[in-house]
């Protein structure tokens, strides 16, 4: 049995969060995007400061891919404004394209090209291109430069897309579920490369994923996309601090949910009543447990738990 409560989460402007840069690499205002009658993005506002890793979370069909493609100008928007690296993103173009890397969700481009030819083709367009990195990654990720892209597996294509995206040493790296098709070794190797990239100053990464463990490893700020809007963007540590799970236990079980400030979601399991709370007061919880004749246990939910509860 599960009981839901309305989410009393307010939009937080990440620019105002402590430790963030003043000039955002991305600013989105009132972005709307529909496919036919289905409105995927509904007046979405978002701002991403420079030098951060942003993990974009959302359920299947929430619009993560659409949002990322709209940000890069790869999908026309219905209304609103997107500003990328300080300039309006009316269409992909200009010098800033040298500073942007993108890994699409599925890499189905240029199947007739060989890996080496594709990378040579792409490298020719960029002012910066880390040939040593490309050689190293092709070798360690076992990508055959002579193979045609159409003959690569989905995982290999994903690796190639990652190599292609990070080789120009972009200042902004946008990744759409980059590790979905990767094996655990490749996922770890990718995360290592990503963290290495992030150690350089001024680098920003936005990536959507369902593998919350990767976001925890990267210490990412979490942005939650739900109902066509970014519900919040917060550092992971802050999320952990603010959200707690209180487990009340009593032998006779639970027929109703007690009222308590900051309650986001409640569910029962036998003698346990689990409450997901935002900014709870420990004293209030203790008092509640005593009044209900229950024992109290406080837990810190994992990011995955939070995602399941909030998304």
């Amino acid at each position: 049995m599960s009981m839901s409560a309305d989410l009393p989460i307010t939009l937080v402007d990440p620019v105002s969060l402590p430790g963030t840069h003043a000039g955002p690499v991305l600013r989105v205002e009132a972005l709307r995007k529909s496919f036919g009658k289905r409105e995927v993005l509904q007046s979405l506002d978002w701002s991403v400061p420079a030098g951060r890793v942003i993990g974009l979370l959302g359920r299947n069909g929430a619009g993560k891919t659409t949002l990322l493609r709209c940000l890069l100008g790869l999908s026309p928007i219905d209304s609103g404004r997107v500003e990328l690296l300080g300039e309006p993103m009316l269409e992909p173009g200009g010098e800033r394209m040298h500073r942007i890397g993108f890994v699409p969700q599925t890499f189905d481009l240029f199947p007739w090209m060989r890996v080496r030819a594709y990378l040579d083709f792409t490298a020719a367009f960029y002012a910066r291109w880390d040939h040593a990195l490309v050689t190293r990654l092709l070798d360690s990720w076992q990508l055959d430069p002579k193979q045609k892209i159409g003959q690569l597996s989905q995982g290999q294509r994903q690796k190639l897309a990652i190599v292609r995206a990070i080789a120009p040493q972009p200042d902004l790296l946008v990744l759409d579920e980059p590790v979905a098709s990767l094996d655990p070794q490749a996922r770890r190797a990718f995360m290592a490369e990503l963290l290495d990239l992030m150690r350089r100053p001024g680098k920003t990464v936005i990536f959507s994923t369902h593998i919350t463990a990767d976001l925890e490893r990267a210490g990412a700020d979490i942005a939650l996309l739900r109902d066509g809007r970014i519900q919040f963007t917060r550092p992971l540590a802050e999320l952990r601090e603010r959200f707690l799970r209180a487990v009340l236990n009593r032998a006779e079980g639970w027929s109703s949910t007690p009222s308590i400030a900051g309650l986001l979601k409640a569910s029962t399991s036998g003698a346990d009543l689990q409450l997901l709370l935002e900014d709870p007061d420990a004293n209030d919880l203790q008092a509640l447990a005593a009044s209900l004749g229950a024992s109290l246990r406080i837990e810190t939910p994992s990011l995955e738990d939070l995602f399941v509860e909030l998304a």
Partner: protein, 469 residues
């Protein structure tokens, strides 16, 4: 310039044969202009014509290559559009300015006109290669010229001396390029991929590399209508299967899944559309000359048989999806599953015969054929055997594009030749004896090929691997 060089190389890498032929023709044209072997101004124009043809050929390839390159993700490449513009400038230099300058040296009177014409030809090739229907306008010009050849000759004479011709050609080129390049450089949401086995006559199947064909508003409406009809047919088949889950109803469901646009309503709609287009074509050229009924009938057969090459390609692309069908059907043996596919696809034979008859009937009415019965009888017999053979070779034929192209050519030409031969035979020895003879020879051949092919197909293990590029 490295990026421009890479862009220029793409055509060489993708279509080396076309590139070599076009370059050889272009060089031949230039040599013809320069050498001027007969010291006659006309040979300069022959050289220019050769260059123009090479340019048209090259730009059709370039258009196809650009369609593959201009995906939304490509626009993230820095200065992608500017580099494309450079590629265009190099093309103009190679295919327009150089031949025009040489021609101007040897035939100075028409230099600007030659340059404008070469520019127009290049733009026309690009439009055709990019899949824009405006590229088909060239055929309207040919049809009109064939309709009224004397008037066309007079127009050409006037155009050659008129100072307005070159500016008008340049204006037409600008319009053509605008119509071609704007959709190519416009970023739009990707359309939903159609079924690989969808009927090719809709003109919305993806090209070999998976690039979707660009469609206009009318095309989208027609496709939507076909999708609606396909959905309705699928729902009907489902309802019937739920009511009575028999083997024939199950087979019908598989057919609706595999061949979404081969249900009665969609076939009727398709015939209507093709009939409309053919009627317009005949209306335009009917004053031109008398038609040979055998040619019209053979054309109807050709039109019918174009369904099968697309079926062969579609079955390859469909393979990963067929794994799901296999699991859903849960056959006892591989052979049972293969037989189910064979039985489902066999419906294409009567559909093809019906289509051939409809096209032939339409053709015979439009050209006022003297012996429509003879045309229809020949079409029915030839379409039956030819579609059996075509279906057979696409079930078990080669997977490579070259092998398939060769087989398609043989089947198409063979079918048309069979029609001509059959038409002559029935005319020579009468409807009864001629018809029976033709039917015995061709249908026994087609049936034999089909029987052997479907046996071989059932013997094979189903393959669900995606085709390699």
């Amino acid at each position: 310039m490295r990026a421009v060089w890479q862009l220029w190389l793409q055509l060489w890498k993708r279509m080396p044969v076309l590139v070599v032929l076009a370059i050889l023709m272009w060089l031949g044209g230039l040599i013809f202009i320069v050498m001027n072997p007969y010291h006659y101004r006309g040979s300069v124009f022959v050289g220019v014509a050769l260059s123009a043809f090479a340019s048209w050929f090259w730009h059709i390839g370039q258009g196809q290559a650009l369609r593959g390159l201009c995906r939304p993700e490509s626009f993230l490449l820095p200065d992608f559009q500017r580099r494309l513009a450079w590629l265009g400038a190099i093309s103009v230099l190679q295919w327009v300015i150089l031949p025009s300058l040489l021609a101007a040296l040897f035939a100075p009177t028409h230099g600007i006109l030659i340059a404008a014409a070469l520019l127009f030809v290049a733009a026309m090739g690009l439009a055709t290669g990019c899949g824009r229907r405006v590229g088909l306008l060239i055929w309207v010009v040919f049809i009109a010229a064939g309709w009224m050849p004397q008037l066309a000759g007079q127009i050409v004479k006037v155009a050659l001396i008129s100072p307005w011709t070159a500016p008008l050609l340049i204006l037409a080129t600008v319009l053509l390029l605008r119509m071609t390049l704007l959709p190519l450089l416009h970023i739009d949401d990707r359309e939903v991929e159609p079924s690989p086995l969808e009927n090719a006559n809709l003109g919305r199947t993806a090209t070999v590399d998976g690039t979707p064909q660009p469609r206009g508003a009318i095309g989208k409406r027609i496709a939507g209508l076909f999708d609606y009809v396909a959905q309705h047919a699928m729902e009907l088949a489902l309802r019937r299967y739920r009511e009575r889950p028999t083997a024939p109803h199950k087979l019908m469901l598989v057919r609706r899944l595999l061949l979404p646009h081969d249900n009665p309503q969609a076939i009727a709609l398709r015939l209507l559309l093709v009939a409309g287009m053919v009627a317009i074509y005949f209306f335009v050229i009917m004053h031109r000359q008398h038609f040979n009924a055998a040619v019209v009938g053979a054309y109807a057969i050709l039109l019918t048989m174009t369904r099968f090459p697309q079926l062969g390609r579609g079955m390859l692309r469909m393979r990963p999806n067929l794994a799901d069908l296999y699991l859903t059907l849960a056959p006892r043996t591989h052979a049972e599953y293969q037989k189910m596919l064979v039985d489902a696809l066999l419906i294409l034979v009567p559909i093809s015969v019906l289509t051939a008859l409809a096209y032939t009937l339409l053709g015979s009415v439009l050209v006022h054929a003297a012996e429509p019965g003879r045309m229809l009888l020949t079409a029915a017999i030839v379409a039956s055997s030819a579609s059996l053979v075509a279906l057979a070779v696409h079930l078990i034929g080669p997977e490579g594009s070259f092998g398939r192209a060769a087989i398609n050519l043989v089947v198409l030409l063979g079918s048309m030749a069979m029609y001509w031969g059959g038409y002559w035979l029935i005319g020579a020895i009468g409807y009864a004896i001629g018809g029976i003879t033709l039917a015995v020879v061709t249908i026994s051949f087609g049936g034999g090929v089909w029987y052997a092919a479907q046996r071989e197909y059932q013997r094979r293990t189903p393959c669900f691997d995606a085709p390699l590029v």
